[in-house]
């Protein structure tokens, strides 16, 4: 009589084989995520956080353990775990509208009429404030806008879990802050369950309910989980001096820079 969490990552291990060399990237990762929770995964480069996200996405097979989402084991990628990729990966030969429409058509063909799918596409573009550019090609819009469209495409699949793979990593600080605010708004409105990879401490604290800190690879595991005791809605300008914010931020920084410094220092 085990009651499982909405998304349950159970004893997941991933080992890559390159010829005769085996590299254990992840070791015994356990994580239970509730519905509607916003989780950040943070760690130094090469700690396997992207590997973990790809495992949940189903893009990578697990070597050991399992990922269970809404009582079903993950075995392969699917639109119920939509991914916002680090470098947007919009299809350059399609317009903004067509990129989102492709996802809508794939997920809702046969379930919704053409007109409904059209409205759904526009609705998701409106959520990320990108209606104005719907007929542009990806190369005609800025990096931040591309990420917005990538987010709209993922939201359009109405996923059970939204997976964000360092979605704002390539953006400048101001654009990034804008997008973070948009993500918080959307999360408040839709209540998505979100798993986000990041290497930005402030981003993790501002957006998440819990911050999962990974130890350094190889054989990375979850080192510690910090609870962010901030009420929502959070406003960037107010939270950043609150004791809860500072405490969470300090916990993460202490973990990353004092106890699990860099790979070289750990070796």
């Amino acid at each position: 009589m085990s009651s499982r969490a909405y998304l349950s990552i159970e004893n997941v291990g991933v080992t890559f084989n390159a010829g005769e060399r085996e590299t254990e990237v992840l070791k015994g990762v356990d994580l239970a995520v509730d519905q509607g929770e916003f989780i950040s995964i943070i760690g130094h480069s090469g700690c396997g956080k992207s590997t973990l996200l790809n495992v949940v996405a189903g893009l990578l097979p697990v070597t050991r353990g399992a990922v269970i989402l809404d009582k079903q084991a993950v075995d392969g990628p699917g639109p119920d775990r939509a991914v916002v990729f680090q470098n947007h990966s919009l299809l350059p030969w399609l317009t903004v509208y067509e990129n989102v429409r492709l996802a809508v058509d794939k997920v809702f063909r046969g379930k919704r009429t053409r007109a409904e799918r059209h409205d759904l596409t526009l609705h998701n573009l409106a959520l990320v404030q990108m209606i104005h550019a719907k007929d542009k090609k990806p190369h005609e819009i800025s990096g931040g806008m591309k990420q917005r469209v990538g987010l709209a495409r993922a939201l359009a699949m109405e996923p059970k879990v939204l997976l964000l793979d360092e979605p704002f990593g390539a953006l400048d600080a101001l654009t990034r802050a804008n997008l973070q605010d948009s993500v918080m708004e959307i999360h408040a409105k839709l209540g998505n369950t979100v798993l986000m990879i990041t290497h930005d401490v402030d981003e993790a604290v501002l957006l998440s309910d819990r911050i999962v800190m990974m130890t350094n690879g190889p054989s990375a595991e979850i080192g510690e989980i910090a609870q962010v005791g901030l009420s929502r809605p959070r406003r960037r300008i107010e939270v950043d001096t609150s004791p809860a914010y500072i405490a969470a931020r300090h916990a993460v920084i202490e973990f990353l820079y004092a106890r699990h410094a860099s790979l070289r220092a750990a070796a």
Partner: protein
Amino acid sequence: MSLPAFSEDAGPASAPVPKPAEVLPMPRRPGRFATRSLALLRGVAGQVLPPVVTLAVILLLWQGLSGDAAGGLPAPATIWLESRELIVDPFFDRGGVDKGLFWHALTSLQRVAVGFSLSAIVGVALGVLVGSSRLAHRSLDPIFQVLRTVPPLAWLPISLAALHEANPSALFVIFITAIWPIVINTAVGVRNIPQDYVNVGRVLRLSPPEYFLTILLPAATPYIFTGLRIGVGMSWLAIVASEMLLGGVGVGFFIWDQYNASRISDIVVALVWLGLVGFGLDRLVALAGRIVSRGASAS
């Protein structure tokens, strides 16, 4: 101590009266149309002048160096005298193979159109197969790498033996010459599809036909057109060679025929036609590629 500039007793009367600014007339600019057409003219001149001058220099050198010994390479002036009809009227038709160069070129182009279309269809299909299946790549690529080095004309006896007739043999030679760059470039394009696009397809669970149409084909299009462009050039090379052996109407046979009749100046005229048509073909495929892959450049 008060500074004069701030002294209070200086009334408003002593304040400097602003003088109205003098209105300077702007120099008349040439009209917009004039500027624009001048710039256009300059651009065209910059593009056209250098090759025209180079051509003139080459013709002059050629004229100066050729001694007009009978049977040798004729000078440009001699060519003009001897082949005037061929140059000025490409459209005459006196029946048989005695036609203007336009008709010869048209016949050759028709053969290229058929042979090249076939190789484009089969080449892209094979390229997609080789590019997307590791097994197909392993089993077919070595064979392709060997076959593509076989010179076009070496295929002719075999195709004649197999097909018995001249025309299909010529088509086969074009086909087999043009297909390799198409296969190889398409395969490279398919193998180089960014992993992100592949992942998008996987997350969306696109079916194989959907993946083929929405991701694979558009992503590989620039590579496919590189292959087609090389292929069309090679097919033009092959048609001339195969026509020389096969006879009938066509630029290749025309050249061979004139050689046997010792009309070297006619051959020079035919060479110019060959070059210009080949250039046109290349530009045509390049243009088609630009139109088809408009905006598809990854960014």
